[in-house]
Symmetry: D3
Subunit: 157 residues, 6 copies
């Protein structure tokens, strides 16, 4: 229980110095859920939310990928890194629950957990935005990390 915070050196916030760390292949997978309101049920078709002609999930996938690439701008102490890959997958589960999975990969000195989490969050916000004309009875639920490899301690094998 004596593990030290790595973000805070001495007196003030600063980005951790990753200069001495090795470059390894890193992956992270994050998950988020969006609970849609009952009003949406009639707009679902073939696993997508078909709204007149624009597919909601496809738009959210694009937004999530772009959001993941901008993590370093949004999260103050995140390092800049060049992602090898970002993917966002969205599935509609029972009871109008939308599951969002975002995977990020890089070859770098620091993990890509925040990139995966940010990609999932931005995709979730975009689903919210595109469905809110019907009802604001929408909840973004349980954003968390499922898996992480390539760092000191892996998670979720």
């Amino acid at each position: 229980m004596t593990k030290k915070f790595t973000h805070i050196a001495d007196d003030s916030p600063s980005m951790v110095d990753v200069g001495e760390k090795e470059i390894t292949k890193r992956t992270a997978i994050a998950q988020s859920f969006v609970q849609l309101p009952d009003e949406m049920a009639e707009h679902i078709q073939d696993g997508e939310i078909k709204t007149l002609k624009g597919p909601v999930f496809h738009t959210a996938i694009i937004a999530g990928i772009q959001g993941a690439k901008r993590t370093f701008e949004l999260i103050p102490l995140c390092h800049q890194l060049n992602l090898n890959k970002v993917s966002v997958d969205i599935q509609l589960k029972d009871n109008l629950l939308v599951e969002i999975i975002c995977e990020a990969r890089c070859s770098g000195k620091t993990g890509v957990e925040m990139e995966a989490l940010t990609g999932a969050s931005v995709a979730a916000l975009t689903v919210y935005d595109m469905c809110k004309a019907f009802s604001h009875n929408i909840v973004i639920k349980e954003t968390k990390l499922l898996k992480k490899t390539g760092g000191k301690s892996d998670i979720g094998q």
Copy 2:
């Protein structure tokens, strides 16, 4: 149940035309929660997470405010708007549950719900980022809208 989607005109996604809408004062309040792991308990002091000397919540507040201002860049079909105010408040509840409240205000033709939700989400992601050195057993929970005024249909009195 014949309410139409406003984001989708004809064939493809587009931003809703708000040209004919009146300028009104609009507010929105969103809420998010972050469940911290038990390991964090000993680092809490005076309602903040005191980590050596960097206050986690203060950093997340700044990130949330900046994130709210960039909503139009992150969410593809959101309109640009000039916020009159953004505030983010963060409180530590029982059982290591962090409550984040983000309020956004503008005088404009379209609501500021997405700005409030984005501000809350970016603050939550920042809390996650600053605590993850201890454990990834962190969950961002229940991001939702509490209140909205100034549009056609108000929410949350």
Copy 3:
């Protein structure tokens, strides 16, 4: 032929002062074309480029809308403005010619031509990016303004 450049005052580039101009409703429509290579013919289905399962045009529409909103960051002497609407429509014409139409609208002191042109260009670049795995024999052709209303001199009918 003595009309003066409005971007250049005295010695150096500066944004035109639009402080004395009235706020009017302004629209602009721009057009761009992308000539695809013959190799693409077999991947077209129902007016879209169906590639396994990702629709190219839908991605380009999202990119174009987002690009239009960021015109003021890309074009040095453009004013910031809050668009009332952006839409991008993409159609496949004969002979693998892709037509992109971008419309931008705002209530403001300055025209939205550059926003429409930037939206069309970013959509065209995205079509290029998504098709280039097949062949780089792609050309973005004839990006121009079709129509403009709300300013001193209207264009297009």
Copy 4:
């Protein structure tokens, strides 16, 4: 003719995983043209558009370089990469035709074609913006790739 699309995996758009690709030196050269209206003829001097005292081409060069660096933000499925060099050259040809050449270079796992094309496009849009006070009879023509080295298949030797 069985070459597969690399941007689309399974169901939805995602950035190609370049994690297994080698880092090589990559270059790309793109070209764009802007056809100026006759009204501009009298404002040209020494190969530049001399407008009172602000040089149009110099401004467009700066914009093009900055635009190339932001390609990953504009084009949804482009990878982030750190360019070793960007240059934009602009020449006035006969008949008021402006030729823009943009060269991008990096040491990376993926090509820099989109960076060169984006730099050329943003420079072309900037030329348009700075000349449009005279006439909107301007056309951006023939944006295409001239050369590409360092990847699997080189173009334009």
Copy 5:
């Protein structure tokens, strides 16, 4: 001496609420200086730093204008606003002292001082960047506000 800080409400930083403020025309003029090293003397020609063929000051003017437009992204508690005008003027004074003047204007609810100061600072940094190949013996000096009109208290007549 009981004037209250307007940026800080209760417990934590937040953007001031300007919702009740009137829209007025606002201007601000900021000044910065860059002291160049002696080595630069031979590269100055006609009031510019002529370096082979690229004019340093022109590049810095473009950078300053673009920087002013992005003030709200850089300064956490600044409001978004749409500038009516930004101009940057640069003059070479005696003894290799570069004077930068940035003027910002808007019609809005809050002042444009930070926009003028940010524009001047980014221009100064750009002058530094373009001259540093000769010597790092460069100092950015005395960035301050010269004038401000349109708010509660004007400065600099």
Copy 6:
């Protein structure tokens, strides 16, 4: 005295080609000062500017770190690079003089001086912004480089 400018090749500005340079560990430390007005004296407590409850310096530190990461967007001819570390330290000296030190580090082909200088400048502008409600009698003074290692010519001991 025949050292050539590296930013300017032939006719026009371009980013220097760093493709042939080796990757080395690079550091830079920059310094800036902000002279506060006398009115601030009563608001200082424990080395911070305590304003109701928002700490000014902490906000400026966050802004400086984020600003350093965005140097390549602000300074036209700067290369993109992934910083290993950024830190900003702020101390209050005698006579209401605020000293800002920004350190940037990367493993790259080009120096990080501009990142350190930009981080210091953005932090200084943020201090200005948060104190200006009291008085605009504030001056940002003496922004300069203190140290630089890892390149051809080191500076600072």
